[in-house]
Subunit: 302 residues, 2 copies
């Protein structure tokens, strides 16, 4: 089923104990769409500036994505992020961030995207997420991501968004910030009370869990020995999850759990290189193979 | 099959956001043995002082444990620990620790313990762990726990111990300290190279994983809304795991995975009260019931 995603497409410069990467392709929408594309075609609505390099566009075209909604806006500049990872590869500092075109209006939704039934709102201003959401009254599933900035500064808009979406994806620290409950499971329960049918809490190298009125999912991360660059891990997790849901249409707890497992595996590939490099090297078969390894590591007897 | 454990039996005083508990029953051996006792009889070798209260002894007698090797030593005092948990219930400060009888020699191993085939060496000086280990040449499985103190001060003894035991259980921060590798999976690989057949890395609220020459296990923790006191969580995890292994005799990767799942569940009950209170309230049926809930939260389709 058609999946649409809106969010950032950016140019990242990353310093890490594993090396440096300058001016590589990044952004929440980018990692999400690449991950989702292993399961279904991902329709992108996003803007870049006229400085956006052709070779980054060529990289995106290697995936099963629809770029009809990608606008290269004359006179604008592409979103840029510069960050540095600590020795443990989990903590990071943002050294520089230039919103550029991200601070402007989104491009219009192409006419042939209007029948999208799976809508993912990557992290941006909750009012902009609401605007986009309202353009898809026939949607079957909507999931949004958010961040600490909006929790602090746009709580009202965020709460309105929460009352309208099906699912929220956020980090453990963000769940604690949003609810002021230091127990992440209780925090997720409390977010559930504000409207969504389910909440997915991402814990980075420690996996993710989901609370839903019908039950719970709790999954570890795939054990990673070779972490080159964690940038986009959460976005590729969400992309793999949402891509799987759009492909199967199974929104039951079992379907959500299977989708989260696929998200976990795509994210485990994403972090093995800078930018999208590793994802350009693999096929769906590699994902299924690693999912089977993951299943064997986690299966508990009845 | 008979299981023997040596470690600390202590008196704890705990301050936590959930309340205070003074002079309650604690210690690594205590939490381990109580947890293991749901699966098999746990033989205890440990010493307490003549100040050890009768009601603490009565609590221990509620579990399926053999106290023939528990010495109440005249003229000595019981090990005491005083600690304070932070708001997040994960970080804690040790406010006071009195080794007392723990700094003295262990009591002798009772004659009818000598046929113990499952040997757990809870955290203490590695030389003392080696001494105990050598008294069980016919053992089928030996697992040791350790801590930062011995990694820093007794590395030689610890490495000798590692060359002789089957399994090591330790925290993620300790695995990093022991190997100076900040990636915990690689750290576990490196510990494996020093001798043990498997290494179990405990991550508290984030679960645990195992590396073994035959494969991996990775499990999240059971989602906990009601954390009253995390003291002894790691010991009850190890106790549930080792008790299960002693009961089934299945030392394959599948057996280890199942045992770790049981350890996870017993630990999830242990943290629901101060001291052993919650474990005195439950039966094996409650553990199996929660294990089934856990299985349903984690099962990934083939």
């Amino acid at each position: 089923m058609p999946l649409i995603v809106t969010g950032s497409i950016g140019i990242d410069s990353i310093q890490a104990p594993t090396g440096d990467a300058d001016d590589v392709l990044g952004g929440s929408c980018t990692h999400f769409a690449a991950a989702a594309s292993f399961f279904t075609k991902a329709r992108i609505v996003a803007a870049v500036g006229d400085d956006f390099p052709e070779h980054h566009l060529a990289t995106m075209e290697q995936f099963n994505v629809d770029l009809a909604g990608l606008e290269k806006r004359a006179g604008s500049k592409t979103f840029r992020w510069r960050g540095k990872y600590h020795e443990n590869m989990n903590d990071r500092d943002t050294l520089e961030v230039d919103l550029n075109v991200l601070a402007e209006a989104l491009p219009p939704v192409p006419e042939d995207y209007k029948n999208s039934q799976y809508v993912f709102l990557a992290n941006t201003h909750p009012a902009a997420q609401l605007d986009m959401l309202n353009q898809f009254p026939g949607r079957r599933l909507s999931i949004a991501d958010t961040m600490d900035l909006w929790i602090e500064t746009e709580r009202e808009s965020l709460l309105e968004l929460l009352s309208k979406i099906d699912g929220l994806v956020l980090n453990d620290s963000e769940a604690i910030m949003l609810t002021e409950d230091s127990n992440t499971v209780r925090a997720a329960d409390r977010i559930l009370e504000t409207g969504p049918k389910f909440v997915v809490v991402k814990k980075g190298e420690h996996g993710a869990f989901l609370v839903h009125q019908d039950g719970h999912v709790v999954l570890p991360a795939f054990p990673a020995r070779n972490v080159v660059d964690p940038t986009g891990a959460g976005d590729s997790f969400a992309g793999g999850m949402m891509g799987c849901l759009a492909a199967t249409g199974d929104l039951s707890i079992d379907g959500l759990r299977q989708a989260m497992a696929y998200g976990t595996i795509v994210a485990s590939f994403n972090i093995e290189s800078f930018s999208l490099t590793r994802l350009t090297e693999i096929e769906r078969g590699h994902i299924d193979e690693r999912l089977e390894q993951f299943r064997q590591m986690t299966v508990i007897g009845a």
